[in-house]
Structure formats: structure tokens, C-alpha cells
Symmetry: C2
């Protein structure tokens, strides 16, 4: 086994979920992630934790979803029970074909989304982490070789996360006290929003690996202006490129995309909250320097900024502040590494990809 | 996908577990069984049942078991909870390397066996079936090509099970009333035992696919004589060939093997019940005509007889009759297709591979 896969498992077990003796650890992984699963079993054995794996297979899911009645798509009680019995959950993404879910009918996909909710709630109740095992299909989506993609994943994963957390803390503190943000990038993005009274979420690779994000929640009605997604927006196997959104009173009033504008329209029409922003975040992972078409990576690219249509993160919205409800959470990443700035209450905290707090 | 894989899934879903709308079905399968799992999802979707799959991976298990302390091998509460939440469980065997578990230490293997017991009990509480998806490794063990092995598996699986059940019923009825059995094969096997007051288990492919077995339980103390296993006895990746066992007062007093006699000794020393017989059964699947080194098949070969060291089957031992307790259940299959006979209370019911009830 490649040493980098062993190292990936080590970071997951010892940093992300901090597994210890007697922990019941539930892994959810596709067959293409077998190398990483073997490495996880090795490492979990070493700390006397007890692993079990639910096999996620998009080909099988599609075969099921193609034939089942939408009414019959109920919660998997088996998965729910296993999740409730787990002390920690490790989700691994490793597509063999990133477009496998692209032809599932909207009605069935919606039913599946609803049926999954209790499992999601149960997972969020405990320790959990989402990670990626590199595959040829993911490399293809990133338009690079499989070998280069493996290196990219492992460079983004194998970092000094303690030092990273330290470096992120300045930005997190600044955002915690912030009231107004303004994001400007070239001619395509100029967005203003309020974050008054909101909390800050700091991702130091405990819930996402790679980690590297500092995020908060906009006051939903406060968003004004225009934003362009410079990274692809991927939803259920469909890729929307160059999405442009214009907000008035917090609501998307105009939208377009350079590719797959129809999918963007369907996304916005999903529910009322899908037309509003639930998150604004900053990518801080300096091991990532390009977009790869996987939001888990793209939103972390060091020196970029993203906003998400749809559901807010619980961690960011204190009791009594407005929470944006939605079945959707879709990140639009803005490339702020050239000719761009992020202002917090009039002060520039990010210019052309460099953070003030990093100096 | 191969039509024979679809047909296999159809028999599992519609005959073995009789899945229907709303059923929660838990599959346990290794990655090498992906084709069959996809076919199962397709078929379960068609009947509006809800599938979920636990991934069993012997490489991962070995990586875990190699590093964990024996004391730390506890029950997987995740697997137990998922099994309890399931209406039916489908177990699929599909080795990539049939010897993968061969170098796990005895202490850890025993701890794992004990930790599994609650999951086993939970599975046996509901509907369940064990089946096989053909792999190159299983074909290698059977000393045949992968293509020929696929044909063999599918010939054994895709049968008229209703007609089969009808044909088996004569033998089952005869065994239900039987008191004494005598099994004679060539110069190597002459075994006498009592089955007085025991029940009969009829496998018509609901719990095993392929099915095809009629079995009962010996009175443990009644077994006398000698038996030779003509099919390989496989335990945890170790293969014992040509095992010979001599019984007095129901207990193995002498044993030897043509290959791997040491493993046979360890098996017999596992516990007191491992030295006694828990089962005597007859194979009735006419789609199987050779041994392949997998007991799920070998014990079903039409016209053969097997006895099992160790634990009796609950179905065969009525309240008040002696039950053979053991952590072991190891089948020794006798090739009774030439120069052999099985007598029930002095009447020959099987001679040279042909059953009286089939005539």
C-alpha cells in the first residue's frame, strides 16, 4: 500500500475523529476506496477501535432508484440504526463515474433526499468527517492525470493541522466581530451582505479532510449585488459552469450560466431558501491551488471566497438570528486570487489571494 | 450485466427472502460481488424494498485483526443495530483470495468469533440467505476456469425450487421417522448413529442459495465408526484434505488427514462439542456434480452425505433431545456416488448416488 494512503488514514483516525479504544466507527465508502478503507482498518485496529463499513455504490443506487416508486423511497432503517450505534462516522467519496447519478428522476431524487434526513441528523449528532479517496474518474473531472490527482489529494490532506488552526484564528476572530462584508472580484463579482450577530465555523480538518475554511452566515435579507461562480457548481452529477447570480433584498432576481443554465434554474426553484444565501466562507488550505470540480476541495483553495445558496450551517446562526432553511446547499466559489478583495467593515482582509492575518 | 446475474438476484429476492414493499433488506457483500449487488438493488427497487449494504472485506478485516488487541475485539454495535433493523439479510460470499484470513492469530480469531455471536443471533431471528457470487479466486480453489465456475454457480442457483422441494419431501419424511442411520462408502467410511426423536431441516434454497439439503441431528453419544471427508474441509482459509475421524461413544478418539492434519487437530481441540457430531445431512442439488472446496456447494452435491463436527442446528433438535453445543460447525462431505449406501433403519435410501425417493 502507498504510504500516502496510510498517512491519510492516520490523519482521519488520529486528528479528524480522534478515535480511541472501544469506539464504534462506521465508514461509508464506495468500492473504489478499498485502499483507504484497508488503511483505516489497520489504523483503527492499532487504536483498538471497532470498524464497520457501509458500502455506498452509485451504480447500485441508480439501479434501485430507476425501478422504485418515489412513494416507496423510505429511510434506510438499517443505515439509521448503524449510524445511531456509531461513535464516529467516516464518509469517503471515491467516484468511478462522477456522473452516475445524473439521470435519476427529479421526483425520486427528492424523495431520496427527504428519506436521508434522519440519517444525516444522526450523523451530525456524533463525530464525523468527510474525505476523498482519489480515483481516475475524479482526476478526469479535474482534467488531470490520476497520478497528479493522487498527489494533489495527499498534499491537501497531509498538513500540519495544528499550525493551520493557529494561522486561521486571526481571520476567524475578525469575522466573529464583523457586521458588513463586501466581496469584489474583477468585473464579475460585487456582493455586499451583513453578518451581524452571526457565529463563525472554523474547519481545521476535523469534519472535512482536506479542511481549511472559515465560514459564517449572511443575514439572508441583507445580500445585494452580483456574484460569479468561478469554480464549477456540481449538483447530482450535473455541472454548472460560470453561474452568475444577482441578489436584491437577499433574493436571487436574475441568474444565468455559461454552461447548464437550466440546471441552475432547477436548483433555484427547489424551494424558497434555495434563492437565498446560507453561507459565506473563505478557503485557507495552502496545499490546494486549483479548482478540481469537487466542492470539498474547491471551497478550501487558499485565498478564495465562496457563498452558498440554500441551507445555513447550524454552527453559524445563534438562537434568535435568522436561519436560511432549504433542502439545498450549493457552494459558488469565487476566484479571488487576482484583482479581488474581501472587505470586513471597510477593512481589506483579503487582497489578490493573500490574507492580512497571514502576514 | 450478465443475464445470469440478474436471474440470481431474482431468485434471491423473490424465492429466498420473498422481499416485498417496505422491507428493509441488509446485504453483506465484498467488493468483488458488485455485479450481484447492483442486480439485487435493481430487483429490490422493482418490489419497492429498501436495500443497504455492509461491505465485508477480508483484506480490511485482516488489517484490523493484525493490529488490534484480542481484548479489544468487541461486537460491532453498528452491524448489530443494522441487522436488528433489517427485515431480511442477504449474505454474499465472493473471495478475491480464499486464504485471506489464514494468518490471523488463533486468540484474535476466537475473540472475533465470540464478538460475532450477537450479530449471528440477530440475523437468525429474521429472514436470511447465504449465497455466492463467482470470482476468479473461488474458481481457482475449485481448480476450474472462471467462466466454467460462473456456469457452475448459475446452474446450481437457477433451478425449479418448487419442483425440487417436492422431490425432497420423500426423503425428509423418511428421516423424520428414522431411528438408526448407517453410512457406508468404499473401505473408508462405515458410520452408525441414532437420530431417534430428532427433527428434519429441509433446505429448499430459502436460507442457502444454492440450496438442496435434507438434514437432521445425531444423538451425540450414539455415533460409532469411521468417516472420511472426501471433499476438502475448509476452516478460516486453511484446507484440510482427506480427513479421517473414528468415533467411540459419540466422541472422536482417532483422527488423521492426508493434508493439514495439524489444522484438524486444532479444530477438534476447540471445545468438547467440536469432537462430536451435530449434524448429518444429504445433498440433493442435481445441478451440482462435483466438489469445489466451498462447503455451501459441496454439502449440496446431489447424492452425497455429510456429517458436521460441532454445533447442531436448532431446527433439528426438539426440546428435551440432546443438543451438541460448540463454537465449531465443520462439515465433512462423503462422496457416496459410487460403491456406497445410506441405510435408514436397515432400508437402503441412497445407493451409489441415487435416492430411492427419486425413482
Amino acid at each position: 500500500m502507498d504510504d500516502s494512503v496510510r498517512r491519510h488514514a492516520e490523519v482521519l483516525v488520529e486528528h479528524s475523529i480522534e478515535a480511541s479504544a472501544g469506539d464504534q466507527v462506521l465508514i461509508r465508502a464506495p468500492t473504489a476506496a478499498e485502499e483507504l478503507v484497508v488503511a483505516l482498518y489497520e489504523r483503527l485496529g492499532a487504536v483498538d477501535a471497532r470498524p464497520e463499513t457501509l458500502w455506498t455504490d452509485r451504480r447500485a443506487d441508480r439501479a434501485y432508484l430507476e425501478r422504485v416508486d418515489a412513494d416507496a423511497v423510505i429511510t434506510r432503517e438499517t443505515r439509521l440504526a448503524a449510524t445511531e450505534a456509531a461513535d464516529a462516522v467516516v464518509l469517503v467519496k471515491a467516484p468511478r463515474n462522477a456522473a452516475e447519478g445524473s439521470d435519476v428522476s427529479g421526483e425520486v431524487a427528492r424523495a431520496r433526499g427527504e428519506a436521508k434526513q434522519p440519517v444525516l441528523d444522526a450523523r451530525l449528532d456524533g463525530r464525523w468527517v468527510i474525505t476523498v479517496h482519489p480515483t481516475a474518474a475524479a482526476a478526469q473531472r479535474a482534467e488531470t492525470s490520476t497520478a497528479a490527482y493522487r498527489d494533489l489529494v495527499h498534499d491537501a490532506v497531509d498538513r500540519d493541522w495544528a499550525a493551520h488552526a493557529e494561522r486561521q484564528s486571526g481571520l476567524a476572530e475578525r469575522l466573529r466581530e464583523a457586521e458588513k462584508l463586501r466581496l469584489v472580484a474583477g468585473e464579475t463579482t460585487d456582493l455586499r451582505l451583513s453578518v451581524t450577530g452571526m457565529d463563525v465555523y472554523v474547519d481545521d480538518a476535523t469534519e472535512n479532510l482536506p479542511g481549511g475554511e472559515v465560514a459564517t452566515a449572511p443575514v439572508p435579507d441583507s445580500v445585494e449585488g452580483t456574484v460569479r461562480a468561478d469554480a464549477p457548481l456540481v449538483r447530482g452529477g450535473e455541472t454548472i459552469e460560470g453561474a452568475r447570480l444577482t441578489f436584491e433584498d437577499g433574493r436571487v432576481v436574475d441568474h444565468d450560466a455559461e454552461r447548464n443554465a437550466a440546471a441552475l434554474g432547477r436548483l433555484l426553484d427547489r424551494d424558497e431558501g434555495a434563492r437565498r444565501l446560507g453561507e459565506v466562507g473563505v478557503g485557507t488550505n495552502r496545499g490546494l491551488d486549483r479548482f478540481v470540480g469537487d466542492v470539498l476541495f474547491d471551497e478550501k483553495v487558499g485565498g478564495t471566497v465562496h457563498v452558498a445558496l440554500g441551507r445555513s450551517m447550524e454552527e453559524c446562526v445563534p438562537e434568535g438570528r435568522p436561519f436560511n432553511e432549504s433542502a439545498v446547499h450549493a457552494d459558488a466559489v469565487v476566484d479571488t486570487r487576482e484583482d479581488a478583495r474581501l472587505e470586513v467593515d471597510g477593512e481589506v482582509v483579503l487582497r489578490d489571494g493573500r490574507f492580512r492575518f497571514e502576514d
